[in-house]
């Protein structure tokens, strides 16, 4: 290789690596949240909500499959969706820290869902016009499901918040306890900035404003109070997780950990 072409090749490789990690972040957030929601099956407060949460999980895992498959192709080392889902350990997962938080009570699950739905709406809407046509196609497909999820989660947020004293207190408690993970949603790091600069990813600071307006309007309708912004020491999207992710993976990857390489 001539010296003149080394620099562009290195830049190309670095961009590819950044894209791989960016797509994994999206994929892992959907996968981990889908796995969490699956824990509700058979335990939700009512059969309809049991079905609802399972349906959300199904859509999220479907989105994760498309994204993981694409991530594996970008990486180019022969890893498919299963290898990426079942053969990585916690530090290699790049999901938002919020997604891995335990289900808690129904209010916690709804607040977590509502925040991630509102985040996904901004991200997928932005990605629908991505310079990366594969990501654009996946996002255009996923956004329709996400809008539907948001209808469910924001509807429940209002019903619970503007409900009984008990449901109101529990929902406010969930908002207060999960709010510390929201700083991570729209704080760009070097990968986000790089992807935005080349027209692949949306500009996060601009999306943060729209997210804030949406969330404030929902909280107002739900008679809930927005907690003060907090600094976030959480870096799930860089592979630094709360202890909860390890336990979730222990269950999700149980079969592959017990019988490595086993096939269906």
């Amino acid at each position: 290789m001539s010296p003149a072409s080394v620099a562009p090749a290195r830049r190309e490789r670095a961009l590819n690596e950044a894209l791989f990690r960016y797509v994994l972040r999206l994929a892992d957030t959907s996968l981990v949240l889908g796995q969490r929601l699956g824990e509700w099956i058979g335990h939700a407060p009512a059969l309809e909500e049991d079905l609802g949460l399972a349906n959300l999980a199904l859509d999220l895992i479907g989105q994760a499959r498309l994204l993981l498959t694409y991530a594996g192709e970008i990486e180019g080392k022969g890893r498919d969706e299963d290898a990426l889902a079942f053969l990585r350990d916690a530090p290699e997962f790049l999901n938002l820290t919020l997604a891995e938080q335990p289900n808690g009570d129904f209010a916690h699950t709804i607040v977590r869902q509502w925040l991630i739905d509102a985040w996904q709406i901004e991200v997928y809407e932005g990605l629908s016009g991505s310079a990366d046509t594969r990501l654009a196609a996946i996002a255009a497909k996923a956004i329709k499901e996400t809008r539907y999820h948001y209808r469910f989660s924001s509807g429940w947020l209002v019903r619970l918040g503007d409900g009984t004293a008990e449901s109101q207190a529990r929902t406010q408690q969930a908002v207060d306890s999960l709010w510390r993970f929201t700083g991570e949603l729209f704080t760009p790091d070097e990968i986000d900035e790089r992807m935005a600069a080349v027209g692949i990813a949306p500009d996060l600071p601009a999306a943060a404003g729209r997210f804030g307006n949406r969330v404030d309007e929902d909280l107002r309708r739900a008679a809930l109070v927005r907690p003060a912004a907090q600094p976030h020491p959480w870096h799930g999207k860089r592979g630094v997780h709360t202890e909860h992710l390890g336990h979730l993976l222990g269950e999700m990857q149980h079969l592959q950990r017990t019988y490595p390489g086993v096939r269906w």
Binding site: L51, G52, L56, L58, D59, G62, R65, I138, K141, Y148
Partner: protein, 172 residues
Amino acid sequence: MRAAERSAAGDAGAIETGAERDVWQLLARVPDPEIPVISIVDLGVVRYVRRAADGRLHVGITPTYTGCPATAAIRSATREALDEAGHRDALLEEVLSPPWTSDWVTPEGRARLAAFGIAPPAAASDPATGPVRCPRCGSLSTGRISEFGSTPCKAHYVCNACREPFDHFKCI
């Protein structure tokens, strides 16, 4: 409606060969695995059937929902139908874009859904959709029980007139 679908798939105006017509008719007899009263063509998941420059038939299918478990079943049922009809060299392609919408369910499909007891979808593009008609007694006095149902494509409703619960095909 199939003409409209083909136009959405981007090959409007193409001259349809006999083989292409045969395959459309063939796939119109492949039932949806979860709602067998309608075919995969009625559901709008068959996006195109065309003879490409390489001389082979290309059949495009698209998933309804990203996580719908029926997607794999639809893929193998389509493959099987093509093989059995002698189209072993036909290429089955999965397409994501443009994303599937319930607007692609054909008028025939809507009529079959209603006859089966599933309220068909309203226009997804119209946010101010009117009330959902009960597929059993025809009443417009109905209410939603849940945004979700027994499959990813359905929501759960109840009729206030005849008191029967029913499924409504989600508008997406």
